[in-house]
């Protein structure tokens, strides 16, 4: 992808006294001279790499406001004994899987709908996308009020139909699912847009050919859209799975990990430890989260990308 743009831009530095073009042979894909990467590299190193490695060190210390004491792997031992942790791990997985699955299914269906010839298509597209633009905390607070078991609009509405609504956020076995649904409501717009881009980029020829062969609408969906929109699916799954696994803001705004510890996810367990001043322990939690997310996402990424190549 970088070749065309890269060649056009490389002319400029070439005019400078630095013998840039010769560097081309040094790197495998180096379209730019080395110093061209430097600013981004420095920013990346200072803001991402260095803190990451410092974090590895601090996760091995008991870290207070002003002092730290090296305690080896004690933090990790303690973190794994954390009562909320197992629940948090489970909830993170549930949350990540539910939100990304629903975003894939709903996003794809909505995208199919919004790429068809329907009335007010542009308007509908913006309506679907709108929640993505709203502040997560704002969404959280709004839905907390809507989901109030006694006064909330949702249960009041259900009452009209004679249904006694549950405590969406106060029932310990329900809370995490309620928050996940709100996350889907908020995030499905992005998935839809990614799918719309994917579907629109499928060459018309395929559809025309399929029509000539007498394919039904479902067959067109099954055999053209579904396989050819795979890059979009990969993007949506990866994005929403990572987002789901490390989700925090919506859960914190809606339940604070409660009732009790029942909707705690890894990130909220970590946050609460940080809040309590257990900096070393919460850093250890972050290191664990880092490895957990990598462990879960890497295989999925490989698997999904391999299939793409096979096609």
């Amino acid at each position: 992808m970088a070749t065309v743009i890269g060649k056009a831009r490389v002319e400029e530095p070439a005019a400078a006294p630095v013998k840039a073009p010769r560097r081309k042979h040094a790197g495998i894909q180096s379209h730019y001279p080395f110093w061209f990467y430097l600013p981004a590299g420095v920013v990346y190193a200072v803001l991402f790499l260095v803190p990451t490695f410092i974090a590895f060190y601090f996760s091995l210390t008991r870290w207070g406001l002003f002092s730290q004491e090296f305690i080896g792997l004690d933090n990790f031992r303690q973190f794994f004994n954390e009562p909320g942790l197992l629940q948090g791990l489970k909830n993170s997985l549930i949350y990540g899987v539910i939100t990304s699955a629903l975003k894939v299914v709903l996003g794809l269906l909505l995208a199919v709908l919004l790429t068809s010839q329907i009335i007010a298509r542009g308007w509908l597209r913006s309506v679907i996308f709108f929640p993505v633009l709203v502040s997560t905390i704002g969404v959280g607070i709004t839905f907390t009020i809507l989901m109030n078991p006694q006064q909330g609009l949702i249960n009041k509405t259900l009452e009209v139909f004679g249904i006694h609504g549950p405590g969406w956020l106060t029932n310990p076995s329900l809370a995490i699912y309620s928050v996940a649904l709100v996350d889907v409501w908020k995030g499905v717009g992005l998935a839809t847009v990614i799918y719309i881009a994917g579907i629109v980029s499928i060459p018309r020829d395929y559809f025309e050919a399929a029509e000539m062969d007498g394919a039904t609408a479902f067959e067109r969906f099954r055999h053209i859209i579904l396989p050819l929109a795979r890059p979009a699916t990969v993007t949506v799954i990866i994005l929403s799975l990572i987002g789901g696994l490390r989700s925090f803001d919506l859960i914190w705004a809606m339940t604070g990990g409660g009732p009790g510890f029942s909707s705690d996810v890894i990130a909220s367990v970590i946050y609460k430890q940080y809040q309590a001043g257990f900096y070393g322990l919460s850093t250890a939690g972050n290191v664990i989260l880092f490895f957990a997310v990598t462990l879960i996402v890497l295989p999925i990424f490989w698997a999904l990308n391999r299939k793409q190549v096979d096609m």
């Binding site: 803001l47 991402f48 790499l49 803190p51 990451t52 410092i54 974090a55 601090f58 008991r62 207070g64 406001l65 002003f66 004491e69 303690q78 004994n81 009562p83 909320g84 109030n148 078991p149 006694q150 405590g167 956020l169 106060t170 310990p172 990866i238 990572i242 490390r246 604070g256 990990g257 409660g258 009732p259 009790g260 510890f261 029942s262 990130a267 970590i270 609460k272 940080y274 809040q275 309590a276 001043g277 257990f278 322990l281 919460s282 850093t283 972050n286 290191v287 989260l289 880092f290 997310v293 990598t294 996402v297 890497l298 990424f301």
Partner: protein
Amino acid sequence: MKLTNKRRPTAVVVGVAVASLALAACGGGDDGGSSGGKVTLSFLVDNSETSVATAKGLADAYHKKNPDVTIDVEQRPQGGDGDNVVKTRLSTGDMTDIFMYNSGSLFQALNPKQTMVPLEGDYVDTLADAFKQSVTADDKVYGVPFGTFMGGGVLYNIPAYKELGLEVPKTWSQFEENSDKIKAAGKTAVIQTYGDTWTSQLLVLGDYHNVAEQEPDFADDYTAGKAKFADTPAALTGFEHTQEVHDKGWVNEDFQSAKNADGMRMLAQGDGVQYPMLTFAMAEVAANYPDQLNDIGFFGIPGDDESTNGATVWSPGGIYIPATTEGDKLKAAQDFVAYAASPDGCQAQIEATPPQGPMGVTGCDLPADVTQVVKDIQTYTEKDGASTPALEFLSPIKGPALEQILVEVGSGIRDAKSGAALYDEDAKKQAQQLGIEGW
């Protein structure tokens, strides 16, 4: 390209946590002007109505006496998020010139020896002993009282008590009888408001007077890691009470989502009759239901023995000077702190917000027209041995997850015994973090 693409999001998770610390460190100190003899001090307080009103009242009164000094009141969140703000700002040297924060264990967790300026002067001797003890670290006093002592016990609706012919309970079994009668009369016997998780702790923390009566050495043994909640029957009682009010169906229907303000509304309007609460919450009643202010009374959480009946009291928060305040500002800050602890400053606090209990300065008497709740607290504090400071003022160790654990116990998710055991584990983390021997 591929590699960076998949790494970046995960690195961000870890990176952000640490980077935010690093970035925060870049922010310099405040640039309040101190030119031409005029000094502006920034003063960080929590954003509760009471705190803001008290702080502004103090600031204005001081400015009137010292026109050269202006005090800007800044606000921060309450609870755990507020702790975060204070700790982060202190550790990055970005604290305001003076700040208000809790006394007791939370104060100890700020590592006052390194982060604050110790106070000197005659006024330090006028501080009430119970308060002084809660802002002292290594024999040095670091704060002056902000607000008043509070009672932690049960707020009750007096008209409802009269209507049902009930008397203030002196033992827990009397409390049980009262609650059954209130429930039978179709009212909420015990209000619980787990929508604000901190409110779940009162039946445990407010029971400390009874714990201390039975186990006088509990605080010291607890600090030393020798006594635990789970295996000290007296200390376990609070957890059991929290479970009992739920199991017996005394609580309001919406106890899981109701917030503190809802609880105070129920109490003021008489829909709910008893509310385990800190008395500072009466500010809510004063602001929104002023006509019901004297319909509400207070009693300490009753124990098993009528003869040792008493109440648990909370020390006022403190006003502290961070170690980063220097030069003219330090002088002005020290003068302001001395003023806040003087009879004048104390009076300014009383005028700004109606007192919720006795003041933390000797020689500063409460006005005659205090509310019923304050009168009730005074009957405990003025009687010898009828009041005990809460555990968090006697021991630096308070586990951060107590409120969530008690929400579980009080919602029937977890039983009292395992809740107490879990809390002991939680407290262990705090003790280790503070570097206390024996854990």
